[in-house]
Chain length 253, copies 2
């Protein structure tokens, strides 16, 4: 996570750069997400909500704490912030909120731990954010999976989930990247759009609720520069984590 | 911090107990806080917001991180949750949000570190939550300060602050306790009310914005039992921290 420590002066400087950058990289528009009303999920008493994904979901959670509903086991990212909001707003529902994101994960690694880290928890609502590493680790030369593998593995994972938990409500979060910030460069595009599009197609195929994170970050850049929302183009700052939580919460009625 | 790990069954059991407890301890009503519109503060570009207090404010923050705006330096309590919300909502304001709460602090301990941990940071908005230890450590036999000392020390601290920072906007948070939960028993009352009343009087004297936390926790007990909101009667759970953050944010326009 990036520190937010910059002076007002450097902030203003960065704002100017950020604005310029937003103009220079018009290509970053959500490949997948039309504007429109989000498909909402109604929570019921005693339900379990599970956040799954990679480092963005993990967000430094205590892996020795296999519990739920605490800052220790929810980490310090969007799962914590969305979780805290739900625990307060729906206090009468006795929700159990779990985070099982693990840094660095790609789809096949979710699949490898899916019994213990998803199916056995029997979530009523399952939120998944996965894909940026499936692409990033490939262009970095640390992984040889393709877009086709991402799409097929992800589809198989959802089919396996629905076989075990036919009534689970799915939330598919679009993988996102903020171009011009540290790790994310023009080299990512247009190939990364394919992963975003795949996530939307999978969401549509299984009638999931889709969180269009790329559009959400793109729109946030109009308010503050990209590095206000993410330190490296991939991992959100605290401001970015709250941006994500707020967008996610729109899925919950 | 208390773990939120209890089954739905035990939650329902606790709900019943909680309801009974709320009836058994009707005495816990905010001694200080009439209902009514909160005095709002308007934030401006480049402003610094400082959270000060004891363990409830500290909330496990990384003391080696003297920065701002990150989960590491804001901890995992209401300061983090309120901070994340402001950083997102007021992204165009380039705020700097600091937490300098320290576990176990009483007013005289704030005074001892006030130059470095408040005045030198030059906050535009200063939020203080202090008082529960001034009382708790006294009845536990670890401190011999009186209500008079609390009130005089607190008044002197605010006077000193306003002398150095005449334009600072003050937020005084009412110390609170959830009766019937672990550390908080009938033994606390009515004496603890004196500390709450003093905090309100100081807030009024200096025209601060007052956050009536006792009433907020009392009202929350109608939705879920006391131990849903606090593990020991004093320290909030994640649900309680979000309850606090939401109430605090009402002070910000």
């Amino acid at each position: 996570m990036k520190s937010g420590n910059y002076s007002r002066r450097s902030f203003l400087k960065k704002t100017a750069v950020g604005t310029a950058a937003a103009v220079s990289f018009p290509g970053i528009l959500s490949a997948a997400a039309p504007k429109g009303k989000i498909k909402e999920i109604t929570l019921s008493k005693g339900q379990t909500i599970l956040f799954q994904g990679d480092s963005i979901t993990d967000a430094g959670r205590d892996k020795n704490d296999q519990g739920f509903n605490t800052a220790g086991n929810l980490g310090e990212g969007y799962s914590l912030l969305a979780g805290a909001s739900m625990l307060n707003k729906y206090a009468d529902l006795s929700l159990k909120i779990f985070n099982r994101g693990i840094s660095g994960n790609k789809v096949y690694q979710l699949a490898g731990r899916w019994d213990a880290d998803c199916l056995e928890l029997k979530p009523d609502v399952l939120s998944i954010l996965i894909g940026v590493n499936d692409f990033w680790h490939k262009i970095d030369g640390h992984y040889d999976g393709t877009l086709e593998i991402y799409k097929n593995d992800y589809t198989a994972l959802i089919e396996r989930t629905l076989k075990a938990l036919p009534n689970v409500k799915l939330i598919i979060c679009e993988p996102f990247a903020v171009n011009g910030i540290k790790s994310v460069t023009d080299k990512w595009f247009p190939d990364f759009y394919g992963y975003q599009k795949a996530s939307k197609e999978i969401s549509d195929k299984f009638k999931a609720t889709f969180i269009p994170y790329q559009r959400i970050f793109d729109e946030a850049r109009k308010k503050a520069p990209g590095d206000y929302w993410t330190g490296d183009g991939v991992h959100p700052t605290l401001a970015g984590a709250q941006l994500m939580a707020k967008a996610w919460l729109k899925a919950i009625k």
